[in-house]
Amino acid sequence: MRLEKCWFCSSTIYPGHGIQFVRNDAKIFRFCRSKCHKNFKMKRNPRKVKWTKAYRRLHGKDMTQDLTFEFERKRNRPERYDRNLAETTLKAIKKITKVRVEREAKHHALRMKGKKAKDHKEAVKELEQSIHLVKAPAVFQQDPTLTLPKMQVKVSQKQSEENNAMEE
């Protein structure tokens, strides 16, 4: 039993899921769900579809080249069973995944590094430019606070009386 990768979105296909399509030139396309299958039938390029791994790797959103990826490679020659080797492999897999996850997180962090400062700058600018939507500049001069104090809307007594008369 093997876990395959979806051709379109590169997610793992567990047994009992998805569809395999065999083309006339004997190339096999595996899909994890009908979403990927339908996109494939529409002849969409996964490199252009934002949510696929192919796009993310291509556009540098995800980590591409790493030593941890070299451990997991499809080998076509079966190895003779060795209990010790199997044990070590199992333990190693755990460590490798840990390392990989950490590295991916770091990659992400690196990508998002300047975001805070940028956001801050934008916010400051916006505040400066568009404060007139919240508070009139005239008032601003008098009272340098940014927001208005919360106050109730005054309704004049006279008007309310008249209205009451109409409501009758």
Binding site: M1, R2, L3, T12, L67, T68, E70, F71, E72, R73, K74, R75, P78, E79, R80, Y81, D82, R83, L85, A86, T88, T89, L90, A92, I93, K95, I96, T97, V99, E102, K106, K113, K116, A117, H120, A123, V124, E126, L127, S130, I131, L133, V134, K135, A136, A138, V139, D143, T145, L146, T147, L148, V153, Q159, S160, E162, N163, N164, M166, E167
Partner: protein, 675 residues
């Protein structure tokens, strides 16, 4: 064999019929339509074809007749003579000859007329030529019609001749009329020949078949022969004479010793002597019939003497063949067909004699030697005493021995299965022959999947090394990251600023939404801006609210706006009128009490919908009466259309009142009870 073909001769048509058949066939099988406007070659071809076709058909038919009738010289002399006796050879040949000449004449006619047709210059001339040709051919046939009739008669008679095979074993029965020949043949064969007291009951040859020693014999019954000179014999007697003459058969000469046939023994003996020349080289048996009436021993002296003479003659024939001498039973037999006494003995004797003769002849002929020399098996002769067995190499023998031993030693899986309980109970351990570094690992179950990865992809003998490298690398990297892993925690917005920011963003999104609505097409929005504010967007209260939301004091602005508004003007006038008097209490613009109150008030505590007859300021009606009329007109214009169930103004015409697809046709499923 020719004897059977007599039955297969096709019917000879008589002259008239033949003409009719051929002419009607010509009419049918050749093209019939021709016009005088056709090209001359076409006309000629048309008529030539007819003439040739007729000639060909006549030729075929007549050739058929000629070929199928047997040529008397080519068939067995027995048949030849028989046919001659019956039909007269000369007449027969003449008839066939006439048919032949007719055939040739017709060919000549056709040839001549075709030659003439080649030069026919008009339709009429060609046609006349064709008519002449066909006419002449038909005349020829008419002339030979008596021959055709004669041939037809012969054919019918020939078909009824008995099928006698001249070459097989035959027994011939002859004698005076009424001696008991037909009775005898009735006894020994299944033939059913007429037996009557009068002479010449049998008028032609009859054939029966009998068996003896698993062989089939033909028995031929002949009509009686009278003692007359050869020239005086009639046709019937001639038949028997022919048979006697040509068939190589055993002859049974019947003798009526009682004399009840009407002829004495002397007469019969005389007959015997007159035809004894025909008995040359044939086994002859003299049969004394009707012994129930007169036994042989009771004969008178003279009769006995005559009989002995005949016997002597018969013995001569026996001697001539080299048979047993002085065998009384061989040549002279007595029987009585009525009593059925001695019939079988006669038959057996005759068959035996015939068989012996035939075998002897065969043995003397050359053919027999050919059969014996057909096969020969050759065996090699051994040249010395040495034994020579087949040769097998030593290695092969050893291998065979080893295989045999192995087969006995090894236990098959099937045997194991059967020992441990059979197919359903025992499941073979497929892993027991695995070749591993450590035999303890044979029964290990190895997992294939871990956390969404295939373990088989990771298996590598060097995995430990690589893992170590990885960990080293990781350590280094971590050290590096420690150094520059500080995030500028710098400026942050205050709570107030954040609040302001959220409000700004809210307002912005609202503006954007409104703009998007406003940005719609002209279909949903009038392009000409309204002069009158129907939705009451631009009221002073609204302005006041918005200004206060921004933090400004709106009172001054409201005052100013109100001082400039139109309604204000109206109010001013009202005041001046009020000075004059209260005559005109009613405002021109606001006839209704409700409206007046409405325009007077600055703000409304409740919103109300307008009644349909009230004119809103932006609508363009003079007064409510006009509006009411307009509404009425509008409704009236639509009423008729709605009643007709029409979509709109453009829905004017029904192109077809009864469209075919709605009123005709069967339904693929369901009923058509209504349309």
């Amino acid at each position: 064999m020719v004897q059977y073909n007599f039955k297969k001769i096709t019917v000879v048509p008589n002259g008239k019929d033949l003409i009719d058949i051929i002419l009607s066939r010509t009419q049918r099988q050749t093209p019939t339509v021709v016009h005088k406007g056709y090209a001359i070659s076409r006309l000629r071809q048309f008529y030539m074809r007819k003439v040739k076709y007729t000639q060909q058909n006549f030729h075929e038919k007549l050739s058929g007749v000629i070929d199928e009738f047997p040529r008397l010289d080519d068939i067995h002399p027995f048949y030849g003579d028989l046919l001659h006796v019956l039909y007269n050879k000369d007449h027969y040949k003449l008839a066939l000859g006439q048919v032949n000449t007719a055939r040739n004449l017709i060919s000549k006619i056709a040839k001549d007329y075709v030659k003439l047709l080649k030069y026919g210059d008009s339709l009429y001339r060609c046609k006349s030529l064709k008519v002449a040709a066909l006419g002449r051919m038909c005349t020829v046939i008419k002339r030979i019609s008596p021959s055709l009739a004669y041939l037809e008669q012969i054919r019918q008679h020939m078909a009824r001749l008995p099928s006698i095979d001249p070459n097989t074993r035959t027994i011939l029965i002859c004698g005076y009329p009424n001696v008991g020949k037909s009775s005898f043949i009735n006894k020994i064969t299944r033939a059913d020949v007429d037996v009557q007291p009068y002479a010449f009951t049998t008028k032609s040859l009859f054939v029966g078949h009998t068996d003896y020693k698993y062989l089939r014999y033909q028995v031929i019954d002949t009509p009686g022969i009278l003692d007359r000179p050869f020239e005086d014999r009639n046709i019937i007697e001639m038949c028997s004479i022919t048979a006697l003459a040509h068939l190589r058969a055993a002859i049974l000469f019947f003798l009526d010793i009682s004399g009840s046939c009407g002829y004495s023994i002397a007469q019969q003996a005389a007959l015997f002597h007159s035809i004894k020349s025909l008995f040359m080289n044939k086994p002859l048996i003299i049969v004394c019939n009707k012994t129930d009436l007169q036994p042989l021993e009771g004969l008178s002296e003279e009769d006995m003497k005559l009989v002995m003479e005949m016997k002597a003659e018969a013995m001569k024939t026996v001697l001539g063949q080299g048979g047993e001498p002085a065998n009384n039973e061989g040549v002279l037999l007595t029987m009585s067909t009525l009593m059925e006494d001695g019939v079988i003995a006669v038959k057996n004797a005759a068959c035996e004699r015939l068989l012996d003769q035939r075998v002897e002849i065969k043995m003397k002929s050359k053919k027999i030697n050919d059969c014996l020399n057909r096969f020969h098996v050759a065996m090699p002769k051994p040249r010395d005493q040495k034994e020579r067995p087949p040769c097998i190499p030593q290695a092969v023998l050893e291998a065979r021995a080893k295989e045999a031993a192995e087969k006995e030693k090894r236990k098959t899986e099937k045997e194991l299965e059967n020992e441990n309980g059979g197919a359903g109970v025992y499941s073979a351990s497929l892993k027991k022959h695995y070749i591993l570094a450590n035999d303890e690992w044979k029964e290990d179950i190895m997992p294939e999947i871990l956390d969404g990865h295939n373990i088989a992809d990771f298996i590598d003998p060097d995995i430990l090394l690589r893992l170590e490298e990885l960990e080293q690398e990781e350590g280094l990297r971590q050290a590096e990251d420690m150094d520059d892993d500080f995030e500028m925690d710098g400026e942050e917005l205050t709570a107030e600023e954040k609040e302001a920011l959220t409000e700004i963003r809210k307002k912005k999104s609202l503006l954007i939404q409104q703009h998007r609505i406003k940005k719609s097409t002209a279909e949903s929005r009038s392009i000409v801006p309204r002069k009158f504010d129907k939705d009451k967007q631009f009221t002073s209260e609204r302005m006041g609210r918005q200004l206060s939301a921004l933090g400004l004091d709106p009172s001054l602005a409201i005052k100013r706006a109100r001082s400039r508004s139109l309604s204000r003007k109206g109010r001013k006038r009202e005041r001046s009128r009020g000075d004059h008097g209260d005559a005109m209490d009613v405002d021109m613009d606001t006839p209704n009490k409700k409206l007046r109150v409405r325009s007077g008030s600055l703000s409304q505590s409740r919103s109300r919908s307008r009644p349909p007859s009230e004119v809103a300021p932006g609508e363009g009606f003079r007064d409510s009466a006009q509006k009411v009329k307009a509404i009425k007109l509008g409704k009236k214009s639509v009423k008729k259309r709605n009643k007709d169930a029409r979509k709109g103004e453009a829905d004017r015409v029904i192109p077809s009142l009864k469209p075919k697809h709605l009123f005709s046709g069967k339904r693929s499923i369901g009923k058509t009870q209504r349309r």
